[in-house]
Symmetry: C2
Subunit: 219 residues, 2 copies
DNA sequence: ACAAATGATAAGGCATGCCTTATCATTTGT
DNA sequence: ACAAATGATAAGGCATGCCTTATCATTTGT
């Protein structure tokens, strides 16, 4: 409790990231999908969070973080994003690998070290995939590219939600915050885009991870 | 084995650092003193190293690392020292805290990341307490200050062996590699020194951790 | 409204890395 | 050479975070 274990921290982070903005409890099924553990293991760990006063569990509904849980999760995610900045900006690690490694480093480095790192990095505002470091709960800027219109060009603001899958897709497609992305054509679940002067086909589901602002002239 | 656990790595590192240069086995008592675990736990873990082909155990004598064990330990210690450089040089973390934190980070970051960090840092030759990064087995330069002579001035080359105790003493006394240290007087186990224009009293045992070269004029 | 789907929970298991207690073997000092 | 000190090892325990199997409760869709 005083020192949450790595597992406890991972659960806190997952709940924080997966939670609904409307304050509704997060179904355990969502956590199960996220971690790939058995429902019983998820249930056990949630009970531990409850015991430690980090979460509240409403049977048949889901989990909610308490204020303590939420605060702890925020500190964790802040550490996570600062490490991502370091790995990406200073060591040129691709964003999907940076995300994964930050998941280990965030547990190893205490807050005060991470704050020094934050200053060392020049107090960046955003992590490499575009999430804000100081306003964790801010919603993505613009619209999801899956909802974009053919013929329009969008400047990517962020990749959200941040997970191994979305960041791997981003790396493979070469789409980063700041990239200009043009929608060429949409047809039955697939979208043809132009990015970095290259034409690509991506599924609507994959493009839902990308958020951006319409930068087409006159719009 | 393919992925040694944190504990296994810690044992490898400890054995490598504590091992005799003459190739004699390291008594388990030394490991016990280092970790503060029970003799049985030490014995159990050593058996695990043996099972994994990382060490050889000679009953009533001690442990020896195999080639694999030695190589793995060297990679670990190299990672350790590179992280120490980062924490000390870039984030201005005191060397004793850097040592401790590096003990966590070394397990979290894989070799390839650490190599990028090494390059990012400008391929430093020495870690903050003066141990070589590329020649792990090199013996300290000069003599141990505990064996120094009154009236002589030494430039500190390194603090060895590197452990929480020695590095904490170094930080508290303000002694770092590169520091000039003058021995004022030696009397019954205590040594009076001048460092950074300040006079201090340290025990012979504590000063044994510091190594340096005699820089007195004309010597 | 009721069956089917989903969720909760009890019981028991496993690996890891620690622990204590107790017994037996070897080495060491005088 | 023999007692005392040290080391080895067996047996059993504990917390953590996973697992499977099985049973019971609630919610959901039609």
């Amino acid at each position: 409790m005083i020192n949450p274990s790595v597992s406890i921290e991972d659960y806190l982070g997952a709940i924080y990231r997966l939670q609904r903005k409307d304050g509704q409890p997060l179904p355990l099924g969502d956590l199960q999908e996220h971690f790939g553990f058995s429902p019983i293991s998820i249930h056990e760990m949630v009970q531990k969070l409850v015991q430690r006063g980090l979460a509240v569990y409403i049977p048949y509904k889901g989990v909610l973080l308490t204020l303590t849980g939420s605060t702890t999760a925020e500190a964790l995610i802040r550490r996570h994003r600062i490490w991502e900045c370091f790995l990406s900006n200073e060591l040129a690690v691709p964003i999907d690998e940076a995300h994964q490694l930050a998941g280990d480093l965030e547990h190893a480095a205490p807050d005060w070290i991470t704050e020094r790192l934050f200053n060392h990095l020049g107090q960046p505002s955003f992590c490499p995939h575009g999430s804000a470091i100081d306003e964790l709960t801010s919603t993505p800027v613009g619209i999801s590219i899956a909802n974009g219109q053919a013929g329009r060009t969008y400047v990517i603001s962020c990749i959200s939600p941040e997970n191994s899958n979305s960041l791997q897709i981003a790396r493979e497609a070469g789409i980063l915050p700041g990239s200009s992305l043009t929608i060429i054509e949409k047809k039955n679940g697939n979208i043809e885009i132009e990015i970095n002067d290259q034409k690509k086909q991506l599924s609507e589901d994959d493009l839902a991870y990308f958020w951006g602002m319409d930068m087409t002239d006159g719009s």
